[in-house]
């Protein structure tokens, strides 16, 4: 299996800036989500597929550390990584880099669990083996940052 992915790239929007002239810090949490959605799509288990299985993966917590501000229209690369996964809980880490210089702009993590249609927590290892195997295989993937 080829576990090399193209990174998620996007530009900072004008409406994402605040009166300090930089992207408002709340937006990075949204950028994490964008990169997560893109990542799951790329590994073949997009939100649509997960939900078709009756699974949802809510965010239990988020942390974001701001290093350098991003300004309007700057292009960033967002690199998610499946840092931890045991079928019950999952931690995805993110690095946001300036697309031109590669310098770190911010980084963070989201923690997730998996719930079914009755909002009960499920173990993918037990009940959704194929999703479990897929996620497991991607816990050490290499993203092409070049």
């Amino acid at each position: 299996m080829d576990r090399k992915l193209t990174p998620y790239v996007r530009r900072a929007q004008f409406y994402e800036t605040d009166q300090m002239g930089v992207v408002h810090h709340s937006n990075y949490v949204r950028w994490f989500e964008e990169a997560r959605v893109d990542f799951l799509d790329k590994i073949g288990m997009g939100y649509d597929k997960i939900e078709a299985e009756g699974i949802h993966s809510p965010v239990l917590s988020v942390v974001c550390r701001y290093r350098q501000p991003v300004r309007f229209n700057e292009k960033v690369i967002i690199i998610p990584r499946l840092k931890f996964f045991n079928g019950i809980k999952m931690t995805i880490s993110y690095r946001i880099l300036d697309a031109d210089t590669g310098m770190l702009r911010s980084e963070g993590e989201t923690q997730h669990c998996f719930i079914n249609r009755d909002f009960k927590m499920v173990s993918l290892k037990k009940d959704y083996k194929h999703i479990y195997e897929l996620f497991k295989a991607w816990t050490d993937y290499v993203i092409d940052e070049s």
Copy 2:
């Protein structure tokens, strides 16, 4: 029936500003919604009640004219008015005023129809008489701007 309502008041948030140092123009559309929700609550037909009846009232169009910018932490009064209502379509107009000076900051309108759970357009006059009568009664209410 007393048709005098207290207006909807709120402050401009920091995260609503953009790098021009003023509230980003997209947020006024959200402020219109806040004032609309508040208005419907106050006249006794809040979103929860409308939805409990199986009705939803999607936005067909929005227009907003920007007069003077609102800055961070400024307090505004938002005054919605049921400008047009015939049971099938509804137009709500909005004026956003500076709470201290009463000066107009922006104004606009949203157009709505009414749909049932099957996403079919309905006539409140025909099928939801009690909602129709309520909305009709509020088409000429007076809001206390003092």
Copy 3:
């Protein structure tokens, strides 16, 4: 001069949906801005260049008509068009199309004027001839929708 541009393409984000399961109507105003920024970049007069000239182009009004909802992760094409420009005022129209079917999702317009660093309205025709000529040339451009 080649006046054919590639259109602006983007996906609907999860955080842009609301509890009706569709993109919240306020976000289209932001998508208009994204497409406007992209358009100005592509014709060689991006926000950075306009601002380097000491010019800003505030939004005077926005109108948006909602045709069909956009759902999470759907890809849309946004087509801005310089509908009116006389150096003092400018109207940009937008069509948002489903990228797969080409069906119209929403459409709208923004009106703009031009102000200098002292927040005075300026005539590009009089004081910024080169910007005037550029914008004028793009009032009838053709975008490649295929």
Copy 4:
């Protein structure tokens, strides 16, 4: 000095929900900011005053732990607390409670430093003694949650 404050109260807006039918997790970061701004206003050192002194207090990091979802139109109480302050760094913690039941909805923290107009980090203890004393006095305030 009376160190008892009224808490910050607000309703969940429709546009803050996502297609899961709950407030999107990114918005809590914004609610933290709202409560922080309100808190600083109430203790007499609002953003306007801090900025008039030439000081800005950027967010270095944010963490949010989601306990129970908040739904549209539910009223929440947000309780900020000056958890740590030494004049150079500051940690504010937040609890978001359901206004009716008092049940915890989410909680988190933001970390801040203080910078001057040249974007240099400053020690309030050294250079802005009066702000230092004020913040110090509020590190153990009691908020009225009743």
